[in-house]
């Protein structure tokens, strides 16, 4: 059942008064997917997440969770959902254990299974030593972890995380990313973020949303195909003139970078790296660096979300 569709969002729109926050978005989430939701501030990420989690009604459109309409059968649909809002919904006056116990009760976990669910959630989020501390006294990072623990406590088939790594230190970020990847194996995960490497590190699919519209929706692996021109960065101690280099076969243009390195654009031709290396050795250019300039999500993100033409 790897192709089982967990979320089907159909033509979602949401207006706040005259202001249209989300405009006609449709997408699907399958089991085993980790879907990255990317967009600049105010793009409509959080609004979409709130609609998916049943916190907010879409002005138009339909959300089917595991075959159940979330507006008509909210209880059934929400049983399959774990949601971590942008600000974790924590009762600061409770201890971690008390809070998670309450969450387990809210999610209708049977009394006998509560302890197991609690231990599992605390274990996965690294909260075991903090279990008797007051949530209000925990650091932001630990509070965030309690928020994640709350979302996964009833092992829902869909986990929606709104900016889960905000406020965490680099080690915690790595742990949380691993956790998300792990969760993605059995569950469907939707993750919103404005941190681009995070999407590349954790997600297998990415959606970019801008001004309420979906501008990109594909697998992360297909990203490279999106960008037309590819390039190599080369560092040479004794570089020949630019025009000499541009005359080489398979090179469309050469640009001198600020630190005296050179950027070779080769368009749709196969990568000239091998040829360049041989040539550099033969003509003693003093080659000290040869790096393929990988297409970054950032570039696509900027291209898609900004009106200005991409820097060439």
């Amino acid at each position: 059942m790897s192709n089982h569709i967990l979320i089907k969002a159909d033509k979602l729109s949401r207006y706040y008064g005259e202001n249209c926050a989300v405009n006609d978005i449709s997408f699907e989430l399958k089991r085993g997917d980790v879907l990255g939701f990317l967009g600049p501030n105010g793009a409509g990420k959080t609004t979409t997440m709130r609609m998916l989690s049943g916190n907010l009604a879409p002005s138009k459109g339909q959300i089917i969770i595991n075959g159940v309409d979330i507006i008509e059968n909210p209880k059934e649909a929400k049983a399959e959902l774990g949601y971590l809002p942008e600000q974790p919904p924590l009762y600061k006056e409770l201890t971690v254990n008390e809070y998670l116990h309450y969450c387990a009760q809210l999610n209708r976990i049977k009394r006998n299974n509560i302890k197991k669910a609690l231990d599992n959630a605390k274990d996965r989020c690294g909260l075991a030593e903090m279990e008797n501390r007051l949530i209000g006294n925990l650091s932001k990072g630990y509070q965030q972890r309690v928020g994640i623990a709350q979302a996964i406590i009833h092992s829902p088939s869909i986990i929606i995380l709104d900016e889960p790594t905000v406020g965490l230190d680099p080690i915690q970020i790595r742990e949380i990313r691993n956790l998300i990847k792990e969760l993605g194996q059995e569950h469907g995960v939707i993750l919103s973020t404005h941190i681009l490497p995070e999407v590349q590190a954790t997600c297998n699919r990415v959606q970019i949303i801008n001004k309420g519209k979906l501008v990109f929706n594909d697998e992360v692996a297909n990203l490279a195909k999106q960008v037309k021109s590819s390039s190599l960065i080369i560092g040479l101690h004794q570089p020949p003139t630019i025009s000499e280099l541009e005359a080489l076969p398979g090179i469309t243009s050469v640009e001198r970078l600020q630190d005296d390195r050179l950027r070779f654009y080769y368009g749709n031709n196969p990568s000239p790296a091998e040829m360049l290396a041989e040539k550099a050795v033969k003509d003693s250019w003093g080659l000290y660096e040869l790096t393929p300039d990988l297409v970054s999500l950032e570039k696509i993100f900027v291209d898609l979300t900004c009106k200005e033409p991409p820097v060439q």
Binding site: A57, I71, P85, Y91, E93, L94, Y102, C103, L106, N107
Partner: protein, 252 residues
């Protein structure tokens, strides 16, 4: 089941903040003072009462006025207890925990209402201790005492329901408190306008008054219409609260 879990959490959180404790303390102190002054005045009139045929007993002279005053004090206090119910969760954004859990709005509202009722029951029990202490030196009319306590309980139930509804309307606890207080006071004094007037409008207005249905119970008159009035009152505001919370989730 889930309703009781929500109620318990609500009650627990109340006692984890100093608010609940200070409210219990202040209410008990003020009513204790009133209770003592009532006893004082009873001692003064006691010799004259002894000679009278069918004279009012201590339940009439001490308990009924005490619970009448308690109603006024709690009218000021209940908005402070109910203000946090939903608005605080809205403000600190914990409401989404309830909204994204497989729990219906009805369960959320009833759970929170039961939580507040549990607290109000504690207040009521503390107040009931004062008349009961009179048993040390005298006899009580238990029928009347129960009727008075039932009246106060129902009245508090009504206060709580309005407070809960007002709390669902806003994200500011203070706004919820002020508007609850306003509505309660208005419903308390609404029959002032009616006094002296005649005609169906006056009858309807005075019928709405919370006080109008409390007074007979204080006198020991148990009338089922008064009971039904309070029950309907509570149900109405609970339904309003459910509708209000559901309106954010449903398509318009």
């Amino acid at each position: 089941m889930i309703v009781f879990n929500i109620a318990m959490r609500e009650l627990r959180s109340m006692f984890l903040s100093p608010l609940a404790w200070s409210i219990l303390g202040v209410v008990q102190f003020i009513l204790g003072y009133m209770f003592l002054t009532q006893i004082d005045s009873f001692m003064m009139v006691q010799p004259r009462l002894a000679g009278m045929e069918g004279a009012p007993g201590i339940t009439d002279i001490i308990v009924a006025p005490l619970l009448g005053n308690a109603a006024i004090v709690l009218l000021l206090i209940v908005p402070l207890i109910t203000m946090r119910l939903v608005s605080d969760e809205r403000r600190s954004q914990t409401l989404s925990l309830l909204l994204s859990a497989p729990v219906s709005m009805t369960e959320i509202v009833i759970g929170k209402y039961l939580g507040i009722c549990a607290f109000l029951t504690i207040i009521l029990a503390m107040i009931a201790l004062m008349p009961l202490s009179l048993l040390v030196g005298g006899d009580l009319d238990f029928g009347k005492l129960l009727s008075c306590l039932l009246g106060l309980g129902l009245l508090l139930g009504g206060f709580g329901a309005i407070g809960l509804f007002m709390s669902t309307l806003t994200a500011q606890p203070t706004v919820a408190a002020v508007s609850t207080f306003g509505v309660l006071l208005l419903l308390w004094i609404v029959d002032w306008a009616a006094s002296g007037g005649e005609g169906s409008t006056y009858t309807v207005i005075s019928y709405i008054s919370l006080l109008r249905h409390y007074e007979p119970l204080l006198k020991g008159v148990f009338n089922s219409t008064d009971i039904i009035y309070y029950i309907l009152f509570v149900i109405t505001f609970l339904v309003f609260s459910i509708r209000r919370l559901d309106s954010e989730r449903l398509q318009h």
